[in-house]
């Protein structure tokens, strides 16, 4: 691999990489606002300027500049190297680049930062970006001096509603144009643009349009400052109180990698942020996915139900035992869930096929929905491929409805409460449901046991491409809920069996032998099947 030198360090690069991208891949951050690894480079923020040292024997590329001599008060002609934007300059073999070590670069960063802050409002205390803002970080790293401008700053529109999800603040904007480029390059909907010039610049929505569609949250995510905020997260939390867990989006079969930000003090999830993964979602997520963090709290089953009424879990387990007393295994059906983790499904399959001895395995999930060519998958279940891997013979829920109607099946244990079709016919059977979220099966169930959602216990999910991905625990279990594999183990005990598992690690070591990956993926990693 060819290499170049950055501040004396050898940096390998692939032909075509820019200096900043090659450094980024090595974990070295050249300060930048407008550059984003997933977008084109307009080189307009000038923060990433670097000095490219001339080759031996070559004349340096330099500029004549006038510099004020503070002693005499006169200007002197001096020479200064012409700095280059690292986001635009392609790396070349043997190139020598000076960034932190060049006094000209240090000065340029200071001055660029000073310009960017000239008209910036004093908003940190009320700004949602505060705590994760590039302006703040770079001030302390690269500027460190106080304001010199005495004039009133330029005022621009604040609180401009761009659409159903996004609010824009013109004064905070540094005109990096990342949002404009995201909308045209990734979302393929060039609805944003820039108007006016110089310090009157502002971002604007195309006339007659608003910023809508399926990828509006990403404009806020790429914004390096607090100019774009989402209506959803605006004024809800201060980011330094949030902790984060590597998670996997449950919205569809794409399985986008995400950071789930939550506040441990209130045991509450506040937002999703995309987690970079070149193999799955690159740097992006869709709006539906970004909002799906809410499912950690909304529409949850957090209490046991017996005949539709809240009851202690012990009561519910007793009820389940009396329902299943003396039932022949052939008339018992097991329903796996395409929305629960591999571990949960494994436990359910174990209960049905090994302990109960039933051969009737079905699978449920949400019905298909909207799809596009960017990220959104038709299949709205996070683990359909996973269920297929561990139970290849599982039949769709519709087949179960027929079997119940024909009285071949009289007793059903289901994981998850979703159904792709109207499940009313299931009312003819005795139904026990272990579910994290309320769904069409809950009203039909004689007994419902509460399970934790993906946010409350670690789980492995297999996406549409067959990649096993691990989502880590963020929140503590809500209400009486427990991880489904534990709830299933308790149900098995109540039914008079001895479950072979009690811990996640036991299930994972069992899972290693099944089709798909060789081992459960380490936290946050993706394993390609």
């Amino acid at each position: 691999m060819p290499t170049f030198k950055l501040d004396g360090k050898t940096i390998p690069f692939e032909p075509g990489d820019t200096i900043i991208k090659a450094a980024y891949k090595q974990g070295i951050d050249i300060p930048h606002y407008c550059w984003h690894p997933g977008l084109s480079a307009p080189a307009n923020c000038r923060m990433c300027l670097v000095e490219i040292l001339p080759k031996a024997g070559q004349r340096p590329l330099s500029l004549d500049v006038l510099e004020l001599d503070p002693k005499t008060g006169e200007y002197k002609v001096k020479q200064k190297p012409k700095l280059q934007p690292a986001c635009y300059m392609a790396a070349a073999e043997g190139m020598e680049v000076a960034a932190d070590t060049s006094e000209h670069v240090v000065r340029a960063r200071h001055d660029v930062q000073e310009y960017l802050l000239l008209n910036h409002p004093v908003d940190c205390p009320i700004c949602d970006q505060s705590g994760e803002c590039s302006l703040q970080d770079y001030w302390l790293l690269h500027m460190k001096t106080q304001k010199r401008m005495q004039d009133e700053p330029v005022h621009k529109p604040k609180g401009v509603v761009f659409g159903p999800t996004i609010v824009y603040d013109g004064e905070r904007c540094v005109m990096c144009t990342r949002c404009i480029r995201f909308m045209s390059e990734i979302a393929k909907d060039p609805v944003l643009d820039m108007r006016e010039r110089g310090n009157l610049n502002e971002i604007t929505v195309a006339p007659g349009r608003e910023l809508d569609g399926h990828y509006t949250f990403m404009t806020e995510h790429v914004c390096p400052v607090g100019a774009l905020t989402t209506k959803d997260f605006r004024f809800k939390a201060r980011v330094w109180f949030l902790r984060t867990a590597p998670s996997v989006c449950q919205g569809c079969a794409t399985g986008c990698n995400a950071h789930l930000d939550y506040d441990p003090r209130y045991n509450k999830a506040y937002r999703y942020r995309p987690r970079d993964n070149e193999a799955v979602n690159k740097y992006w997520m869709c709006d539906e996915g970004m909002l799906s963090y809410k499912e950690a709290h909304d529409g949850r089953v957090i209490d046991a139900l017996v005949g539709g009424r809240v009851a202690p879990v012990v009561k519910a387990l007793e009820e389940a035992r009396s329902l299943f007393a003396g039932v022949a295994p052939t008339s018992v059906a097991i329903v796996l869930s395409a929305r629960h983790s591999l571990e949960d499904n494994w436990a359910m399959r174990e209960l049905g096929t090994v302990l109960l001895g039933s051969k009737n395995v079905y699978v449920s999930g949400r019905p298909d929905g909207y799809r596009d060519d960017i990220l959104i998958h038709r299949d709205k279940n996070s683990n359909a491929r996973g269920v297929q891997q561990i139970a290849p013979g599982a039949r769709p829920l519709k087949a179960l409805l027929d079997d119940v109607a024909a009285s071949r099946i009289t007793h059903v244990i289901a994981l998850g409460a979703d159904a792709p079709v109207d499940p009313a016919a299931l009312g003819g059977a005795k139904l026990v449901v272990v579910a994290a979220h309320a769904g069409p099966l809950v009203p039909l169930a004689a007994v419902v046991l509460p399970a934790t959602s993906w946010a409350e216990h670690a789980g492995t999910y297999v996406n549409a491409k067959g990649m096993r991905q691990v989502s880590e625990k963020a929140l503590e279990p809500l209400g009486a809920s427990k991880p489904a594999y534990k709830q299933i183990a308790e149900l098995a005990t109540a039914l008079g069996y001895e479950p072979s598992w009690s811990k996640l690690s036991q299930i994972r070591s069992q899972l290693m032998g099944t089709a798909g990956a060789d081992a459960p993926a380490p936290p946050g990693a993706t394993v390609v099947a």
């Binding site: 940190c124 001030w139 330094w240």
Partner: protein
Amino acid sequence: MEPLDVELEEGELELPAEPMHLNMGPSHPAMHGTVRIVLELSGETIVKADVQIGYLHRGFEKMCERGTWAQVFPYVDRLNYVSPMLNNVGYALAVEKMCGLVVPDRCQWYRMALGELARISDHLTCDGAMAMELGAFTPFLWFIKAREMVWDLLEEETGARLTHSFGRIGGMASPPTPDFKGLCRAALPKILELVEEGERMLLKNRIFLERLENVGTISGADATALGWTGPCLRATGVPYDIRKAHPYLKYDEVDFDVPVGTKGDTLDRFLVRLGEIRQSKRIIEQVIEHMPDDGPVNVGDPHVILPEKNAVYTTIEATIQHFKLVMEGAKVPAGECYSYTEGGNGELGYYLVSDGSGTPYRVRIRPPCFQITGGLGKILEGRMLSDIVPTFGSLNMIGGECDH
């Protein structure tokens, strides 16, 4: 009254031969609510004194590990709470040592002046309380009156009488007030007058002297072996004072003596403290001669020093600086250091470990009291029960710093 008509065998009314157990403190007023001594008594003689500390344990070192480096200042205020300024300055010096910062001259002089004022307050409290516990209430009032003057001065400077939280990494919370020097010049002679008046009442009092002399004696070698420092060590004749032995701030540029005792008894400890009050006065007088009236008090490093408040409210640069320092804290380079100063009771050491973040990884304190209290049981053994009060009083055990 009729005589007792029961025949008693000889010796039956004698006290039992095994030692009596007596629990002194923590609620005993002379134990300051912070220590308990379990005594084995033979008659009135102490056979064994088991000193049990921990009644003021707050988990202070652990608390320091969850805020920023600057948020430790209020905690160290509450170590030796009769001389918080010395703790503040000691901690600031320790963090500055890790950051490689040296504060401007004006700040060094200012820190010395405030620190010596705190030392006067510390010694006045100790000697005054000791006299009071022996029944001499009037000198106590005299000493406390003098201490009030010190506290008035500190209040003028810091806004708080007791827990100032005035130290900062790289400087002080605010520069000296314009009247500082004048107030010092006016207050110091009055403080000394009160000290001398109180002293006259005590040192000519036969009862007071008899209760202190040759009580709670310890040799210099024993005290050193126990790790004693400060006035209690110097009372044994060992002239170890960190301000002289390892000068910090500007202590090598001022003239002062190290008062020492001869016998290491309670009276010596009482007298050494009185001597140090006079030396502190001497130091402060020199400091206010040397301290420049203008110039910066804080280092100019935006990584550690908060910007001016009016700039924070009006400019984004200062807001960002303020925000970074308050929410993330000043970043202290990864590493460890031990920094020690002369506190009110002796060597006050801070052992700090940083992982390079804005939060201390470990703040370990070496409080002078801990070692000194460790020797209390030893010097009480063989003495009378009534000797506990002056002996314990002369050690100036402060639960806030001892229990850690």
